[in-house]
Amino acid sequence: MNSRVTINGINIIVKGEKTILAVCREAGIHIPTLCHDERLEPYGGCRLCLVEIKGTARPLAACTTPVQDGMEISTESETLTRLRRTTLSLILSNHPGDCMCCEKAGDCDLQELAYMYNIEPGEFAGEKWDLPVREDNPFITYEPNKCILCARCARICNEVVMAETIAITGRGFYAMPDTAFRKARSLENCEFCGQCVSACPTGALTDRKGRGRGRSLGMKKVKTTCSYCGTGCNFYLNVKDNRVVKVTSDYDAPVNKGNLCIKGRYGYDFIHSPDRIKTPLIKRDGVFHEATWDEALELTAKKFKELVEKHGPEKVGGFSSSRCTNEENYLLSKWVRCAIGSNNVDNCARV
């Protein structure tokens, strides 16, 4: 069913049931949010996405309000700006002002909104959290002082991953996301998928392995496809100084929509492992010796040619690899069929 709405004076036709936020995002109209994540159910927690609807007494949260036919919506007004500024000031009243050395600076939704709404720190005085940084596992660093209680971490852990590792614990000022009984994360209570990190809008949850290795803005981000299982998840390799230092989500990926597992998000160090084979190796008298590409490939070509001449192409063949690219698989099969002359070529699909 279609409905017609007006947003900031522009007429828009909406197909099906959608929230005001979804319609605005599709139309390119910016509405600030902190608790919203496309992967999660609407939450209505941060109150930054408030919009005004003609005929409604008070502003409503765009993320939880479905559009209705005939709605006249304003996403910007003096009142809305005042309300958003107050909300942001309240959040910042219990937030460390250490952006200059925060891992998330430059990629932080809260920092960006504070800048956009020109929030002066210290508008509201009061008690502040002063909790230690938690690094009780190899993958996820938790700085509770930077938590804004949007609950995205707890929601993605329970709604999407269904791992039930973290929930909002405590009440009132002492409420915060945590594991049961504040136990350290281990395989007993956590999958280490890092979904919570990918959902966190501030520096409260960060990838421990990438900390101090460079901030978001200084990274070359290369979109690629995961090399583990056959699901085909996309993500960004974050590269600095010719080294992959982190993997971050691609929220537009058709298959995984920003979701990743432990291997996809944290299984990348092998790329720069000191154990990598760096040069060709030739075995002589049972011992491997380093060789140049020319030496190794000339020897390989010569031996294969000799074997084909002596025993026929039916006695020579190759295994291709499901780990390699399509192009490489095509070439290996072409090499066996054209340069060797047999059909003795297979890949690891059957084993």
Partner: protein, 516 residues
């Protein structure tokens, strides 16, 4: 009501992101049926868990079909319009009354009836299967049995129905699509087909042998007999991941000249005469094709560590052997593929720059194909054919000497031979070692508790490993992965294979456990 039937697949461990999609469906109210000998996360959350004995897949599915036919729950319209051979299937199904199926599978009849009811009554039902179906000596027939079930209920050819085979490796789909198969040229065009050969002979300027080659397992068999002389292994570690390792080691030792290209030294590189450095996925441009046939870009983020990626190495090697290959970029190879492989005919790097395309994509303006078999199946005449199948059981079954069934597979933290994940910091810390999963019942009989070191032996050899007592294993079954080089699980696995596909029986071999 929508139904998901998960068969022989443990996606929360082996395909975590697919498992998120399944969990999403469950939250939206879909019913879940799980066929698995292990009590996986999905089995625990299932509406019906069919806890079958390893190797009894066909008996179970025949039992489901019998229940469906007995109650008149089959989709007669679909069967008459789109299939043939139904009478044979019906006759075969009739031989599998639930009394017999209970004995063969160990699954209680109430569960079988409920699963049959859910699947056949679903608006949309999808079967998702994994290596638990195919890594059996009857693997191909197990997959055919699944097709029988889907066809009986007409649950195929529409979105959110059909049969999805979860692919274990990043590009196992693409590797099969693009030529490295002994009986088919790229795009599944048979080498025995003169027309297909002619097309490739013209493009490649070479004569192609009409004789199908050997499968990988057959090449290794020939190696061990001394009949095979030269082998190039690209990015694979059969000396750790193939079954019955003593046989594999003998084969790799016997071949006259072995070249292995890999990014790390592995069990297999030990046997090589020449080792060539490989480039990781972060070091090259290219494409992978995922389990839903989506061709997606792989992009170079850093330079190849040893200076060349595999496509460059193969080109140089081929040129040195007198068959010149000259490509400036992998996109040129994809253009050549598109010109020769109809299912990839419309794929180019420009088109998949933003988002991958699902094949078949025959032309440059074709959007790709999300759902197969909407009108016709890929057989002459377009009808699907039922195949009447019988229970055969595993190649090796437990006996008094080897009383337990060993099932092998993966855990979430590691991947195959572990060469990549064991070198990823953090993963090596949290999952440092191999553990054999033993049921509480068997642990009691064996007087074993978690952490105890045990010796696991089969007819082919033995390994020592720490025990983990868990109700993920049912009594009579134990589970191990093959991720760790210091516990080579595949010393134990058997040489039984599917006679059609050559796939080894990784999912069932008989073992004995002794506490050390």
């Amino acid at each position: 009501m929508d139904v998901l039937f998960l068969f022989g697949s443990n996606p929360t461990e082996a395909h975590p992101i697919i498992s998120l999609r399944i969990k999403e469906a469950l939250r939206k109210g879909a019913k879940l049926v799980v066929g698995d000998p292990r009590k996986t996360w999905m089995a625990k959350h299932a509406d019906v868990w069919l806890n079958l004995k390893p190797g009894s897949n066909i008996a179970l599915i025949n039992g489901l079909i019998r229940v469906i036919l007995e109650n008149g729950w089959e989709n007669r319209d679909f069967i008459s319009r789109r299939t043939e051979g139904f009478e044979e299937l019906k006759a075969k199904g009739w031989e599998y009354d639930l009394e017999r199926v209970e004995i063969l599978t160990g699954v209680a009849r109430e569960r079988i009836i409920e699963a049959a009811r859910l699947y056949s009554h679903a608006g949309n039902a999808m079967i998702v299967y994994g290596l638990g179906v195919v890594e059996h000596s009857t693997g191909t027939e197990n997959a055919m049995a699944i097709a029988n079930l889907a066809l009986v209920c007409g649950q195929i050819g529409r979105p959110s129905t059909g049969i999805m085979a979860l692919r274990g490796q990043n590009n196992v789909q693409g590797a099969s699509d693009l030529g490295p198969l002994p009986a088919t040229l790229p795009g599944y065009q048979p080498v025995a087909d003169g027309k297909a050969r002619e097309k490739f002979e013209k493009a490649w300027n070479v004569r192609i042998s009409p004789k199908a080659g050997l499968k990988s397992v057959e090449m290794l068999d020939e190696c061990s007999k001394g009949n095979f002389k030269g082998l190039f292994i690209l990015g694979e570690d059969p000396a750790q991941t193939d079954p019955d390792l003593h046989h594999i080691w003998k084969a790799l030792d016997s071949v006259e000249f072995l070249v292995v290209q890999d990014i790390f030294l592995t069990e297999t590189t030990r046997f090589a005469d020449v080792i060539l450095p490989g480039a990781s996925f972060a070091e090259k441009d290219g494409t992978f094709t995922n389990g839903e046939r989506r061709v997606q870009r792989v992009r170079k983020a850093v330079e190849p560590l040893a200076g060349m990626a595999e496509w460059q190495v193969i080109s140089r090697l081929s040129t040195l052997m007198g068959y010149p290959m000259q490509y400036n970029h992998p996109s040129e190879i994809m253009d050549e593929i598109a010109s020769l492989v109809p299912i990839y005919g419309g794929i180019s790097y420009a088109r998949i720059e933003k988002e991958g395309i699902q094949w078949p994509c025959p032309t440059k303006d074709h959007p790709g194909t999300t759902t197969l078999y909407t009108d016709l199946f890929s057989r002459p005449g377009g009808l699907a054919k039922f195949v009447a199948l019988d229970h055969q059981g595993s190649g090796e079954v437990p006996d008094e000497h080897y009383p337990l069934v060993l099932i092998t597979g993966r855990i979430r933290e590691h991947y195959n031979n572990g060469s990549m994940t064991r070198r990823s910091s953090g993963i090596a810390e949290i999952a440092p070692e191999e553990l054999i999963e033993i049921s509480p019942e068997d642990a009691e009989t064996l007087n074993v508790t978690s952490g105890d070191l045990v010796k696991v032996s089969s007819r082919r050899g033995e390994v020592s490993v720490k025990a983990k007592v868990t109700n993920r294993s049912q009594a009579g079954n134990v589970f191990m992965t093959f991720h760790h080089r210091n516990v080579l699980t595949n010393i134990l696995t058997s040489g039984h294979r599917d006679p059609l596909a050559g796939t080894p029986e990784y999912k069932a071999c008989a073992v004995r456990i002794e506490k050390l």
